[in-house]
């Protein structure tokens, strides 16, 4: 993955597409090396190693009523294949309709490419065997935690190194390297006829930032053991606490509603609500693509614009959408530097590192101040509708009576409407957990409908 080759391939694609008639072009080349392995009990389950490279090309053909556009990608990077794909991109663009909003950004491109500590070169020298030892250690810690844990789905490691090169016909070219390392442990515990599984994982840009294998195994074990003997509860209305593992899903729903594309398409209940109060005043949500070592960080966005810090919700008020240049143009706004760009797709809008600002209470304090309610530790299903905010998902967790956890519960659903749920947040914890690009502390919603027996 030498630097010269990446830029040459990107430049070749841009040049060929221009020669075929494109009035504007951008191209992205993503190259990655990765390894994954899983250990189950004392045995290796699988080891995979991969090298992947994919080139994405977007061509625009401007005319009187706007630009026609198309995007292509290829994992065949031979010069002939790149030339052919560049030409096909232009031909495909000519078959689409002119769109007055299509085009490269009007905003100024990133003037510098900051080092955001997105990988540690020393980690490249770490042997696969050493990482497999980590998986073995996590597996042993999980399985050794309690005799009721006598099985597992295994403990898995992953390491990937990527190089992203992006250029466009307006003269911008930038490139950067990233890495991601992870370790996951997923034990299975048994009591009587009941089987339960749960998991814990750690993920970071640098190996030295991962939690220890023993800690991963131990936390996975704690989570699965506390699910044993789960009961059902009667249908009721009660406060619901989301722990830092499940709370980020609420932010995920919020992201889908502040995404510029949902907003201009009017498929978000938050369309047209900038400046309005949409959440409890204790709630501040920030997106920041420049967070050092962040799993969502990047030195420039998918269109070559500088990434930045954007306050999305400011003490309960909706203060910004997440926009790329296209959705910004559709809304008469400016890009927020939130263009995402995979090789296989045209730019779109998305979050970078997004989090809910922590409060002061510990989770234990939040539980202690809950008379009767549910602490959600796992959610399943896809029951969220961004158009209406309607929310209904399957849940499992711990039941709280008199400010104390009384035992595990399962096979329930929790339902509400996100618009109301965000307004009804009445406690925010201090326990933010960074384990991905979306992070949240514990959050309590004062009441939701819980369906059970």
């Amino acid at each position: 993955m030498s630097v010269g080759t990446s830029s040459a391939t990107v430049e070749r694609a841009i040049e060929r597409a221009r020669r075929a008639g494109a009035t504007a072009v951008d191209a992205v080349l993503i190259e990655s090396d990765s390894v994954e392995a899983r250990v189950r009990a004392a045995e290796i389950d699988f080891v995979t190693q991969a090298r992947e490279r994919v080139l994405g090309i977007r061509a625009l053909v401007a005319g009187e009523h706007g630009a026609r556009s198309a995007s292509t990608s290829t994992s065949d990077l031979s010069p002939e294949a790149v030339d052919k794909m560049a030409e096909e991109t232009v031909a495909l663009a000519r078959a689409t309709a002119a769109d007055p909003s299509a085009g490269l950004p009007d905003e100024a491109f990133a003037s510098e490419i900051p080092d955001l500590a997105l990988f540690d070169p020393a980690d490249r020298d770490v042997d696969v065997e050493m990482r497999i030892q980590d998986a073995r250690a996590a597996e042993a810690a999980a399985r050794g935690a309690d005799p009721r844990i006598d099985n597992s789905e295994g403990s898995q490691i992953g390491s990937s190194f990527s190089h992203v090169a992006y250029g466009n016909s307006a003269g911008f070219f930038g490139e950067y390297g990233t890495a991601a390392h992870s370790l996951l442990s997923e034990p299975v515990a048994k009591s009587g006829a009941g089987l339960q599984r749960d998991y814990w994982y750690t993920v970071a840009r640098r190996l030295s930032d991962l939690e220890s294998p023993e800690s991963v195994g131990r936390q996975a074990a704690e989570r699965v053991l506390r699910r044993l003997g789960a009961k059902r509860i009667a249908t009721c209305e009660a406060p619901v606490i989301f722990d830092p593992v499940t709370a980020p899903s609420l932010l995920g729903h919020l992201i889908s509603c502040v995404n510029g594309y949902s907003v201009y398409r009017q498929t978000s209940y938050l369309a047209g609500k900038i400046g309005e109060s949409i959440a409890a005043s204790s709630m501040t949500v920030i997106d920041d693509g420049t967070r050092p070592g962040g799993l969502g960080s990047k030195p420039f966005d998918g269109e070559g614009l500088q990434t930045r810090r954007t306050v999305v919700v400011d003490r309960g008020r909706l203060s910004s959408y997440l926009l790329d240049s296209y959705s910004a143009r559709k809304l008469g706004m400016q890009s927020t530097g939130n263009a995402t760009r995979g090789a296989g797709s045209p730019p779109s809008a998305g979050s970078t590192n997004l989090w809910l600002e922590p409060g002061r209470q510990s989770l234990d304090e939040i539980i202690a101040s809950t008379q009767r309610g549910l602490l959600v530790t796992e959610l399943i299903g896809m029951g969220f509708n961004p158009v209406t905010g309607d929310y209904s998902r399957g849940a499992a967790g711990l039941w709280i009576e008199g400010g104390e956890v009384v035992g595990p519960v399962e096979e329930l659903t929790i339902a509400g409407n996100l618009a109301e749920m965000l307004m009804e947040i009445d406690a925010i914890g201090s326990d933010i957990l960074w384990r991905g690009s979306i992070a949240s502390p514990s959050v309590r919603i004062s009441k939701m409908m819980i369906a059970g027996e």
Binding site: E43, I44, D45, F46, V47, T48, Q49, A50, R53, V54, S69, T72, S73, T74, S75, D76, A81, M85, T89, L92, A93, A95, T96, A97, A98, A102, S152, E153, V188, G194, L195, Q196, R197, T235, R265, Q266, T267, G344, S345, P346, I380, G381, M382, G383, N385, T388, D390, Y391, S392, R393, G394, A396, E410, E411, T413, I414, A415, M449, I450, A451
Partner: protein, 485 residues
């Protein structure tokens, strides 16, 4: 006798384009066998996918993707080594083989059985005149424009129309260290229509319907076909404008025919995949021969249905697909197997070894999963319910295989009062326990339907196209999650 030109076409394609003749394949497998392994295989893929999408009245974008690569796999007891690369050359293949064999510590002198074969399959479930990715883009654009005009004309409350065509053409070649050679050419087409309707007080709702399968793209151009699809998405959006909040609690539920078969996929199918049962992490572990459903309930997984989205001539390990009975008259009788798990469990592969692409290890996956029809009149089933809900269509679902708990989101439902269909409901989620839910089946309709060809299943980060089907059934006492009392 060439009964499947597709397989043979794929064999010559990889030979001519990448130089992968019998000798090169055997040599790469020999390299994988330089350590002691039980089995090794090579999986070559060359896939073209394209899509065209319309919104705001215009086809704003087109896309085309070319994905090629090879995966080399070795198996030693329970262990699998896998290496894949997007550079399909003989040198790279031997490098990948060296990586994949590293899971084995013992050197070996064994050679692979010389690879030979024509790639011909016993059946071709999806012959097409033209590869869907070779259909001129202009035909796809015109179809989407016609859909937009028709959808807006259906009702003035239709405010947005989004439609897209996605087509795929996949060539695969699999060579095994037992000398086997399999190949397939797999077309896949899909048409999606989503409309946003606006009603009183600015209330907005979405209606969605998609359709597709492994057949000629020209089928989608038939006016009656795509109009039915549009009518369906408009109907659901308008209906939702008047829907009221779904109640929460335990109630009797009637599932409509077709897509609600996703219940079987989530509640039963995943739990019967060989890997979870070999590892004893499924809620169905060691329950073969036991009653897991009411009498009369028979559930099958069938990869051999012509033109279906979930069908395959051969799976991604080269095993011919088949019809596997999972539950017969209420008794659990079979698992879905790939090669590895079948061997370790002393069973036969069932043609369910599937993978998303060359960049993934195969694992046991469903194809088309459905319940066979019963004898009851669907209208009679509805009349039998005093108070409950009638669920006609679903969004998505998910299952926790170990605890057996599953959930799925209802996208079209009605209340039932005294045997009559009442007001439409929104925001409902059904939740239950896999090994228990089919024991609650009290009526089975005679009206088995398969879905429209839109299912995609995710497992361990891999997506594969699947199908489901169901006759109208009644389930007694299911938990329904809604917001109303």
């Amino acid at each position: 006798m060439a009964s499947n030109e597709g397989g043979e076409v794929a064999v010559s394609f990889f030979r001519d384009r990448f130089g992968m003749d019998d000798r090169s394949l055997t040599r790469a497998l020999d390299a994988a066998l330089e350590r002691e392994v039980d089995y090794a295989d090579l999986y070559f893929e060359y896939t073209v996918q394209d899509s065209v999408a319309l919104e705001e009245g215009i086809v704003k974008s087109g896309s085309r993707h070319l994905e090629q690569g090879v995966g080399v796999r070795t198996q030693v007891a329970e262990r699998q080594g896998y290496a894949h690369s997007d550079e399909v050359t003989v040198e790279n293949l031997e490098l990948a083989a060296a990586t994949a064999r590293a899971i084995s510590e013992s050197p070996s002198q064994a050679n692979a059985v010389a690879v030979r074969g024509t790639g011909a399959n016993a059946k071709n479930l999806y012959p097409v005149q033209t590869a869907p990715t070779e259909v001129p883009v202009s035909e796809k654009v015109e179809l989407l424009e016609a859909i937009e005009v028709y959808a807006r004309g259906r009702d003035s409350r239709v405010k947005q129309v989004m439609a897209s065509v996605v087509t795929q053409h996949q060539n695969i070649l699999i060579a095994g260290s037992d000398g086997s050679l399999s190949a397939d050419v797999r077309p896949l087409v899909r048409l999606n229509v989503q409309v946003v309707a606006e009603g009183a007080e600015g209330r907005r709702e979405i209606g969605y319907q998609g359709m597709g399968g492994r057949y000629d793209f020209s089928r989608l151009l038939e006016t009656a076909t795509w109009r039915e699809l549009v009518d369906e998405s408009v109907r659901v959006a308008l209906l939702s404008l008047d829907a009221k909040a779904c109640p929460a609690g335990t109630m009797d539920v009637v599932l409509g025919p077709g897509w609600p078969g996703i219940l079987l996929h989530e509640a039963i199918g995943h739990g019967l995949e060989g890997d979870f049962n070999r590892k004893k992490t499924s809620a169905f572990t060691d329950r073969i021969g036991e009653r897991v459903a009411s009498e009369g309930v028979t559930v099958v997984d069938d990869g051999t249905l012509a033109e279906r989205r979930g069908s395959l001539n051969v799976d991604d390990e080269g095993t011919p697909t088949q019809r596997t009975v999972l539950i017969e008259d209420g008794i659990l009788c079979g698992y879905l197997q790939d090669r590895l798990n079948a061997r370790l469990m002393g069973m036969k592969p069932t043609g369910n070894g599937r993978r998303e692409s060359y960049a993934h290890i195969p694992m046991p996956r469903m194809t088309n999963t459905f319940m066979l029809a019963g004898n009851d009149d669907p209208a009679e089933i509805l009349r039998s319910v005093q108070s409950g809900i009638y669920a006609v269509s679903f969004g998505g679902g998910q299952v926790d295989i170990t605890s057996g708990k599953f959930v799925f989101s209802v996208s079209e439902a009605y209340e039932i009062e005294n045997g009559k269909i009442g007001a439409p409901l929104k925001g409902a989620t059904l939740i239950g326990n896999g090994p228990d839910v089919l024991t609650r089946v009290s009526r089975i309709g005679a009206d088995l339907e398969l879905d429209w060809g839109v299912g995609t299943c995710g497992k361990e980060g891999q997506s594969v196209p699947v199908g489901v089907g169901l006759p109208t059934i009644r389930l007694d006492g299911i938990t329904v999650g809604g917001t109303a009392r």
